[in-house]
Symmetry: C2
Subunit: 257 residues, 2 copies
Amino acid sequence: MLSKNHTKFIQSLHLKKNRETEGIFIAEGKKTVSEILASDWEIIEILASESFLNGHASHIGDRNIKTTAISSEELKKISALSQPDDAFLLCKIPAQNPDHKKLKGDLVLYLDGIRDPGNLGTIIRVCDWFGVQSVFCSRDCTELYNSKTIQASMGSFLRVNVFYEELEDVLRNCSSVGIELPVYGAFTEGENVFGLKEWEPGILIIGNEANGISEKNKELISKTVSIPSFSKKAPESLNAAIATSILVAEYRRKKLA
Amino acid sequence: MLSKNHTKFIQSLHLKKNRETEGIFIAEGKKTVSEILASDWEIIEILASESFLNGHASHIGDRNIKTTAISSEELKKISALSQPDDAFLLCKIPAQNPDHKKLKGDLVLYLDGIRDPGNLGTIIRVCDWFGVQSVFCSRDCTELYNSKTIQASMGSFLRVNVFYEELEDVLRNCSSVGIELPVYGAFTEGENVFGLKEWEPGILIIGNEANGISEKNKELISKTVSIPSFSKKAPESLNAAIATSILVAEYRRKKLA
């Protein structure tokens, strides 16, 4: 049973400023909630049907998690989904402090102004699939803990480290621990990525959906890469998550080949 | 100025059954509307701001297109977008009759139960980028002329041929004109696509977002392909549009290599 105040508090967490003040985010849906339950993330509360709670009793166990059995009517009131899916969870936003020493030797993704939560979530899911462990975001990127980002990532936010840090700071912080990384920028007019003989580990920048890579970050790029088009009158660009996935897949493929 | 009846008629086209009865679809947004204006598709009516209509007078010219100058308030009433974008268009749904003889010699995409209009639109945009000219959809796929599909395709629906035909019919119709095409099925557990030495032209099936390729179509597959994962605990799958883009990119890359 949900009290009025309790409902109000949860609803307030659909706003970013309240998530930041409280340090709490919302995750929804049976699949995502189950994955968080199986992780060591600090869960504040689960609100779900009796049957979901019973089915996950072993994961809830004696952890200090508040459980609230709610009806589907109550779930509708707090859910952001058009079709609420049985389980709803409040989770503590973990501290996110990158260890720049760990960025050496693999591909690191840098998202420059990605605004669409669906794109960010999908990109995190792609990184999870391809084992890219670190994703850095410019501060004007959309928020990781937006419920649409969490939804689109399909649980992958639990396994991929996402940090918010300006690119110049990432590079300076790397430098201060003795790491110099090449910076690749994804452009529609760049060097054909399929033709690259080698692709050394480094940072790959994906730009904003409409405007591409920002001017200040363009200056930090050591090499451009592009996905060639194969049509006479192609669209202006590919969707940001699509471009990311093709580039990350190609990075991995080259390492296999 | 929009009359009440005119507004009602346009609003009715947001429903699939009315689009089918009238044979008319809606396209919105300056970019998409401009692209349709530059094409030879049969436009019924443009509803846009005075400035948009004046700016596109040369494309409207003496074609038999009704133009209606509308205010942003009027646009809001007929738009499906949260932020209506200046221009709105009614266009005749063209006849879609595949010429199976043309399917020889290149990759043909087969979408088996893609339900999300955003995914369908994004896949069409990807096909446009990579020059894949024919996309076949099972009849339970989402509709090409859903406004979200049109929106996500970013004008690419004008350049990629999309047909609705069951796979067995596609194969039978190909056979009747003397064409036998291999059928590749995308699975999470299939043959590593990066390891394939050659990828002969044929049909590539992408399955439904949740359930993959249908049982009846599985029987028609001659070879499985999969995108390898590079993480210990990867998500169950990739998004359907992401998987499509990686596979189509890899098909093209192999032809280049």
